[in-house]
């Protein structure tokens, strides 16, 4: 039986439930090991006048203190734009900017040293809002534009025009395992670094870069992460580089583990956006033109912000064909920690913007928003090209809308919501059905490549190594299944190994939902090459054994169920492991390196036209909420999710991505609010005050399903990526809240829609008057 399509448990599940799975901070302490931390700026913007570490150096147990001056290599780095200083030099640009690295024998010594370091900073005017950054023209990268059609003319001829501004807040990743790394010094300046990172190759390169080492001296190893969600794509490099610095300089193993409060305060998260829109439409609700100006808060350094903006812009159309469209994107620079990748990568902000616009159009016209959505939905045969020029092929959106509405009994429940709201004096209900069309591939073309190493051992067992990193999403389980099927063996005989730059070089981040696509593709390529060689041997062997009955024919050799046979004589079977032995004796290689590069991608990174995505993952969700009119507290009564995820490699794992993504998105749009003090210091820096969804927040009725669609032949095993898209379906919850409010107010709503936000809207107070 093939493995692909089966509901196999996560390959680490047993370890997880017994506590045996190891994370970075579970590694036993080595003799001599140092604990590392750093002194970070408490000032959001300032000029460093002096740094005095003498008192700290005198504290017993303190082994070393380093500033930027101690870096043997380059301090300046960055994934896209090289604008970031690992250790602050003359200026601090955000609260959390590392200034002095501290290495000590104990946490207590670190704590004392941190308090004993004296940094004199002259405070400068900070920038904390998108408006202030716009005014100061403080940007990261260049503004970009996507343009199609005759926007100005369409507005001139418009029957209806709406304009407005929509804002959404940031979000902390709240991975449970905070940033962590341990660096072990090796011989001749070599280092082995265990890092909780989505991107071992980037960590490796940055360490080499800041320490002035050739890349081959640095090996980065990632067993797994206790959650990442984009937060360990770039920002895992800082702790790893700092630990590596200490290991190199002191010759002692060095461990750094952020505590949760520090992690939340000093690392960036999802980008807040503030978007201005104008939309033209007919009295029937057909959108004729839209102009959207995106402004994001990038924080102090570029990190991935320009790329995140690109995805927001390419998702501003979402499921809807808008013939005339102009989308601009500008990343504003502020004195917050650099914002970075977060599941959805700008997509959620882009999609939420257009979904809000649709709700507004429906309110204006007094129509059901679903009618507006379906009317404007991308067509199957026409009206199916995105504003940036990529055709929407294999378009299942119309079907998803119809089926999701049916399964969720949308129309009947919408009527019931209206009836309820007329009668209830204590509560309000709202309902909404929204869609997602999420482009799969890195927007940056060259990143769409991967390599894999497959080794077959003499007992027939198999090891696979790729650049994919495991953060719970089950990529290793899926890769194991793919390789097992390629070799016709049981998935239990295939082990996916720890990720290491020693085995897989120059890899891309595990990100953009495409780790299984890319690394799975590479692993299949490697396994296929091994199978091809084994097929030769098998054909010869089986022919010889048939005593003249068969001629050797590779085309007839079958690998299945751990056995190999010639289909013309299926009775005579070789065990896979017997064939392995035979190959070995015949000196045929049983190891291979595979490679994969996504085909068909073209993207002009300046003009913003082309085909940046290999395909789209799509879905719809209908959600209903109940709001207490007196307290603003909100509950999700029911959500129905229907997706097109192609043919699932592992239904259990994919389902978990959908439920997990949806709930995470719900958190972003409802209760997760980052509140800051006037100084720019984050106040909500722990789960006491930063409220991610709890088990009680899961919709009371939660239906998750996907349609049968095996037509996605462009991807491995006809599957589709599923990591990020479901997060955007939580926009249905936010729209349902907006829908509820629209019964008693103008329906205006920003995100997150906290209980406070909801109550103040109910009380008809302008949000500006708060605080």
């Amino acid at each position: 039986m093939p493995s692909v399509g089966r509901n196999i448990p996560h390959d680490s599940a047993r370890g997880h439930v017994t506590g045996q799975s190891k994370y970075v901070d579970d590694l036993p302490f080595a003799r001599n090991e140092l604990i590392v931390d750093f002194y970070w700026s408490r000032v959001a913007h300032g000029r460093i006048r002096s740094v005095d570490t003498s008192a700290a150096a005198a504290i017993p147990g303190v082994a070393a203190l380093f500033t930027y001056k101690d870096l043997p290599g380059q301090n300046l780095f960055g994934p896209i734009i090289q604008d970031e200083l690992l250790l602050a030099e003359r200026e601090v640009l955000f609260i959390g900017h590392p200034i002095v690295v501290i290495a000590a024998d104990s946490r207590e010594a670190i704590r004392l040293a941190r308090n004993a370091i004296v940094v004199d900073i002259e405070e400068l005017e900070p920038i904390f809002t998108i408006d202030a950054a716009k005014k100061a023209q403080w940007h990261l990268g260049e503004s970009r534009t996507i343009r199609r059609g005759e926007v100005a003319a369409a507005f001139q001829e418009a029957e209806e025009i709406l304009e407005g501004q929509w804002r959404c807040g940031g979000q902390d990743h709240f991975y449970l395992e905070s940033q962590a790394a341990v660096a072990y010094p090796g011989e001749h300046d070599a280092l082995i670094v265990h890092s909780s990172t989505q991107n071992p190759s980037e960590v490796q390169e940055v360490i080499a870069h800041v320490l002035g080492l050739p890349i081959n001296k640095v090996t980065v190893v990632t067993k797994r992460m206790g959650g990442a969600f984009g937060g360990k794509e770039c920002q895992a490099t800082h702790p790893a580089a700092i630990a590596a610095l200490v290991a190199l300089k002191t010759g002692r193993p060095a461990r750094i583990v952020y505590n949760k409060d520090d992690d939340m305060q000093i690392t960036g998260g999802r980008h807040p956006f503030q978007n201005d829109y104008r939309v033209a439409f007919t009295r029937d609700g057909l959108i004729t033109a839209a102009a959207i100006d995106f402004f994001s808060d990038g924080g102090a350094y570029a990190d991935l912000s320009t790329s995140v903006m690109g995805r927001a812009m390419t998702h501003a159309d979402n499921a809807y064909f808008i013939p005339n469209m102009e989308i601009t994107g500008t990343v504003c620079r502020t004195n917050f920690p650099p914002n970075t990748a977060f599941r959805g990568f700008g997509g959620p902000q882009g999609v939420a913007t257009i979904e809000n616009i649709i709700e507004e159009i429906a309110l204006r016209l007094g129509r059901d928003p679903l009618e507006i959505r379906m009317k404007n939905c991308y067509g199957v045969d026409d009206r199916n090209v995105t504003p940036y020029g990529q055709p929407v092929t294999n378009n299942t959106l119309p079907r998803l809308f119809t089926e999701c509405a049916e399964r969720s009994e949308y129309y009947a429940r919408r009527a019931e919501v209206a009836r309820f709201n007329r009668e209830s004096k204590t509560h309000l209900k709202g309902i909404a059905l929204t869609a997602v069309k999420f482009g799969i591939s890195f927007n940056t073309k060259f990143l769409n490549q991967a390599n894999a190493l497959v080794n077959v051992y003499l007992d027939g067992s198999v090891q696979v190594s790729t650049g994919a990193t495991e953060m719970g999403q089950g990529v290793n389980t899926k890769i194991g299944q793919l390789v097992a099927d390629e070799l016709g063996v049981d998935a239990s005989t295939v082990l996916v190994m720890i990720t290491s730059t020693e085995k897989n070089n120059n890899t891309s981040a595990t990100a953009a939902s495409s780790a299984a696509d890319l690394n799975g593709g590479a692993a299949v390529d490697a396994a296929r090459r091994i199978r091809t060689r084994m097929t030769e041997v098998a054909a010869g062997h089986l022919a010889a054994a048939s005593e003249g009955e068969l001629t050797a024919s590779t085309a007839d050799i079958v690998f299945a169920e751990g056995q190999v046979y010639d289909r013309r004589s299926a009775g005579r079977k070789l065990k896979f492991r017997e064939l392995v032995k035979i190959c070995h004796l015949q000196r045929v290689s049983l190891g291979e390196r595979g490679f994969f590069a996504t085909r068909g991608l073209e993207w002009d990174p300046v003009a913003y036209v082309g085909t940046p995505f290999r395909y789209f993952t799509k879905g719809c969700a209908a959600s209903e909420v109940l709001i207490d009119r007196f307290t603003g507290m909100m509950r999700v009564l029911r959500s129905d999710i229907l997706m097109d995820i192609g043919r699932s490699i592992n239904p259990g794992i994919d389902r978990g991505q959908i439920t997990g993504g949806f709930i995470q998105g719900m958190g972003w749009l409802t209760n997760e609010e980052l509140r800051y003090a006037e100084s720019g210091m984050l106040l909500t820096h722990s789960p006491t005050t930063y409220k991610i969804p709890n088990i009680q927040d899961v919709p009371e009725v939660f239906n998750v399903d996907w349609i049968d669609n095996a037509t996605n032949v462009v991807n491995v095993a006809a599957s589709k990526a599923v990591g990020e898209p479901p997060l955007l379906l939580a926009i249905s919850v936010w729209c349902a809240i907006k829908n509820a409010l629209s019964f008693v107010s103008d329906g205006k709503l920003d995100a997150p829609a906290t209980g406070e936000e909801i109550l103040m809207r109910l009380a008809n107070q302008k949000p500006e008057t708060r605080n």
Binding site: G15, G656, T684, D697, M760
Partner: protein, 494 residues
Amino acid sequence: MRNQALLFINGKEHRVAGAEAFDTLSNYLRYTLGQTGTKIVCEEGDCGACTVLVGRPDSSGKELTYRAVNSCIQIVGQLDGTSVVTVEGLAPPRELNAVQQAMVSCHGAQCGYCTPGFVVAMSALFETRDRLSEQEVRDGLTGNLCRCTGYEPIIKAALAVDGSRMMRARDLYPSAPMLETIGAHCRDSLTIEHGERTLSAPVTMEQAIGIRSERAPVIILQGGTDLGVQANKRGLRPPLLMSLNGIKGLDEVRIDAEMLSVGGTATLAALETAIRLHAGSVFSPAHGHLAELANILGIFGSPQIRNAGTLAGNIANGSPIADTLPFLFVMEARLELTGRSGTRVVPINAFYRGYKQLDLEPDEIITRILVPLPPSGSEETLGLYKVSRRKDLDISSFTAAIRLQTTARTITAASVALGGVGPVVLRMPSVEALLKGQTITQDLFERAGQLARREINPISDVRGSRDFRLQLAENIFRKFYYERLEPRREMREA
């Protein structure tokens, strides 16, 4: 006198003295014993990743009863006389218990970092039951956060567990031999010293008062759900700590027709259980009031917090957003305080003198909380409210209690207490006066809300703005009216 705490960890006896006794249990497990299955995330009781089972002798003294607690806010010395079971000890090596099995097959773990905590918390639920309803699963796992799964697979896993095939902690680790050792060892009071710090655990009230009066200021460390957080997050290191857990009988909860009486070391979970087991007449106002309290306890922290935290601790911590206070205020609860010069009883309404300023002498201990219950046949309505950003496992932004005594539809007495709107929980005499003697109408409660709004002066903080709190104070009277008093019963969904 002993200077070593005794505890069992996964059945193995540990004696702990010195610095380690003051370390958190989670640190001790991970960094001293190298048992890294227990995870540390928030170090403040708010995520559940560090959940372990703690077994204490039940009322018969013959069995250990296991409950889930947060090991990050418990110090090792506090666990003297207990049996701790961690994720590593839930099943024999290479085996899985029924919960672990279900979590594997239902994809209840993704990144796995929350998983040990979930598995332990879920196993705790099956210590006493064979099957759980979905609501029981949700209520039982409120103390554990997961960022990956969206919880749905975890709920599925819990529903799939057949508890009759469950390897339970109390079966895996036979109570009798452990209880024998504990009984022999913990007969004497405990005093652990390390550097400047001392932890004592007396076994009689006399000893306790002796310690508290001789060596003031001695800080009572009970559940540690407030003190443990302050230690981890604000570096609080009180030199003298005393746990009252060794004093037998102080944890008693009693309910009779006139009185709810809660001992000084009774946990919130014990209080909740006592209310649920109490067999009063369902039609009596006392029953209604206790049910109302049970609802508030149901959204107090998490199971882990309620298993450790005490009512006395909630009162003594003195926070203006302590969830039990509005109830205690409007019920005119009395506190029995025991100190060097004996026992005195103080009305709770006179106990708070200012922000965290209590009418409690340094040598005094809250030994009992007395809540008079309304007589049967009286006409009473009580509404208790907690508004927080997230309904569950959250600290309140605003709390309220409204209690009315009525004849027909005339209000004969009214008590109102609001929390989160000032430095202490506030009684609202002017609002009470407004309500008293009036006939119940919608307009009356509109006016009561507006008056309450004018009377308070809340601040803006991380849990809500001033305007939000003003609006809530006004609205809560409307809510009370529509949900409790409106003659034509309003369609209610909440």
